[in-house]
Assembly symmetry: C2
Homo-oligomer: 444 residues x 2
């Protein structure tokens, strides 16, 4: 019976044999039997397409699979799925388009490509009656994309909050837990291989924005225009703000936020303070986590390693199994969440949130009254004030000003911006004020 | 095009209209359009089978659907899926068997039934070429069953640790955070509607064991014999142990544990100490969370509301959507994780773990030497000792003995049991010793 039932293998072509690609290939080759024992499908790696096979050789992958010729792999009728792990948005885009046009289902981990060109690529796949699967594009080994399109399908999603960049989270954890400066924490991350030599894509918040665009598109079933998203990185954070926030009961996190608000969406990426009691505040070091609030489930959270060869390969292979089972094609064809199908688009709304402001003022009477008057005029109500006595000895500190930390109740971002501008124009202010949003617990 | 594409509705019969059933029915009726807009499938609630329609009427559900006759619902050829939300293991079992024999796919939240009779029911479903879907049986609204059979399919699962009973977690959180006694915390939970009038199923650990049996069966692809699982509840926990553990950096949790160990499995349910730095330690109040360790992903965790009408209904409806899409049938037919297909069974292995022991001894010289000698004879090595000075004034305390708290390095459960027996037989021991396992971070 089992013999009669045996299905033919599902042929796979892998394009790009780097950290993730190498691990996908290694698992497909070395763990083929075990994977079939669990999944019932037989994934056969038929081609490894790359320009350089140093890594592939080091991993002992079968030389017979190596080819520099994508078209050769695409012409192989036994190949049903192409795994695009090239990275970037130029060659990768061509690879994906060619694979789709050749009638192959595409599995990818490429967040930048999907965030920039996902809508067109999804439409192209639909036109060619194939599918794109992309679990590995967000959250590494955490099956959060599946949660959004499958596990939580009964829900109107009200909010997605994500810590989806391990490099940033490692740096912020070090700043919070050890009180190190941004520069020192970055150097630490680089020494541990957790940050690139050029860390711009990560620390600028752009990588987080790519993932937010992908997750929000499915969560809210609409096109997301990456260019519209406000994105702020962690590279200008001051250790003193991290410390003041800690004193007030907050932890700083680079958060991807997409939240229903009135008849629109609040979306963006920025470092924000979250309460120490929120589960996302516990996520430390290189780990990732995504909180998803559904109207029926309330708060759910998905936690794990957001990067690295093996965790990301796990997500790629989950998509390959769904490709071989035919379920990936069904979800792509039938569900209405994919952004190329979006008929409506919720407008972006201005954030209403609480704020933390650190003001550097002369240590003289009447300062607080002036600050309070400006905030009152913008209808921003003060929640707490933290101003410490300057020790008599610390004359230097007095010369460079004393920090006044104010937290506010909910206010509009634009009102807050106006208030900060007016505050910074005062004679008693000695340095540019720092303003950081406070993300309160999502109401359920 | 969209019109031509329109698929016929998928007919649903719901059996059992209680807390979860009522919410499933309400969502299917009131949110039918929104659900179709997201999922592309149209779920039509055709029958609500129950013996009492008080709740169904209170929810304003359509009277035309009400019937006391299961067979009538099963005879309806338009019904493709039966949702079994009766609970218990007698009537529910008959309902499920009849539905399967009538060729219907079954969606259930019934953990007790699956834990006791899952293997036979799965086999019966396979014989009748239908499927059983049971996301709602574990972890309420958290899509953890899907993570095990789908999102993590590329992984050999090495361990599953779960906090899967909200009642117990609420009680333990109250004992830990407020230092209340077990009885006071239970009364608090009952007052808040978080514990039943008869809380036995929850506090005995049995409900947790049901969920463990279900999760472990899929995680390790094998039959689990519920009767073999060691199960210990929280009802005999002493507040002083919770407090001592806290002092040592631990949090007490009722943990479902299934872990590969040598060539077997360590499995069981018991209150254990886990390090304050483990993500499961953060899970507070009625929330649930399951940590799954895969060989490729490492640690992943799934967090959310483990009970309640709406969260559980979310899981039921996710299964209904997969039933309507045909994907539920594919997973059930093709994957090899279901326990009725198991060809191997890993033997249960004795736990090797660290232990916390609280000994109540006379306050006299030489006690610690006697304890240490007994432990040494059993080859159990001491990790730390916590013994506080008894204040001069506290003569009563001295009369009833002083607590000596010892933590050990890894030891076998049987050796530990022998050591505790010998310790309790000493003249200097004034009360039965308390022994609690310490669950260290899973190695990755």
């Amino acid at each position: 019976m089992a013999m009669v039932d045996k299905k033919p293998a599902c042929g796979v072509a892998l394009v790009g044999c780097g950290t993730v690609g190498g691990e996908v290939a290694r698992m497909l080759v070395n763990e083929r039997g075990a994977l079939t024992e669990r999944s019932g499908v037989d994934l056969e790696l038929r081609h490894i397409v790359d320009v350089d096979f140093t890594r592939a050789r080091a991993l002992g992958l079968p030389e017979t699979c190596f080819t520099k010729d994508l078209e050769r792999a695409l012409k192989d009728a036994e190949v049903q799925v192409v795994v695009e792990l090239v990275g970037g948005t130029t060659v990768a885009r061509q690879v994906m388009e060619r694979a789709i046009q050749a009638g192959k289902l595409v599995v990818t981990a490429n967040k930048a490509l999907l965030a920039h060109h996902g809508n067109e690529l999804f439409a192209l796949a639909r036109k060619n009656r194939v599918a794109i699967a992309f679990e590995a594009s967000c959250g590494g080994g955490i099956p959060v994309i599946r949660a959004l399109y499958n596990g939580l399908i009964a829900n109107r999603i009200d909010a997605v909050f994500g810590i989806v960049n391990g490099t940033c989270n490692y740096i912020l954890s070090a700043m919070t837990e050890q009180g190190t400066s941004y520069q020192a924490a970055l150097a630490q991350a680089q020494a541990k291989g957790l940050a690139e030599a050029d860390p711009t894509l990560d620390v600028s918040g752009m990588d987080t924005a790519h993932k937010l665009a992908i997750m929000a598109a499915i969560a809210f079933g609409q096109k997301i225009d990456l260019a519209e998203l406000p994105v702020q990185g962690i590279d200008r954070l001051d250790a003193s703000d991290v410390a003041f926030g800690k004193e007030l009961g907050y932890v700083i996190k680079l958060l991807a936020v997409a939240r229903r608000q009135d008849q629109g969406l609040l979306m963006g990426v920025q470092p924000v303070f979250i309460s120490r009691s929120h589960p996302l505040a516990w996520v430390s070091g290189p780990f990732n986590a995504v909180s998803v609030y559904g109207h029926a489930t309330g708060h759910t959270m998905y936690y794990g390693r957001g990067a690295g060869g093996a965790p990301t390969a796990s997500a790629v292979i989950a998509d390959l199994v769904d490709a071989a089972l035919g379920t990936a094609a069904v979800y792509f064809r039938e569900l209405k969440l994919w952004p190329d199908l979006a008929v409506r688009k919720l407008p972006l709304k201005e954030a209403r949130r609480r704020f933390y402001i650190r003001i550097t003022a002369k240590d003289e009477p009447g300062v607080l009254a002036q600050l309070a008057a400006i905030l009152a005029k913008q209808r921003i109500s003060i929640s707490s004030v933290l101003q410490k006595e300057v020790p008599e000895a610390a004359e230097n500190a007095a010369a460079s000003g004393v920090p006044v930390v104010i937290t506010t109740h909910e206010a509009e971002e634009s009102a807050m911006r106006r208030a900060v501008e007016q505050i910074d124009a005062l004679d008693v202010i000695l340095a540019k004020s720092v303003c950081i949003g406070i993300m309160d617990e999502q109401e359920e």
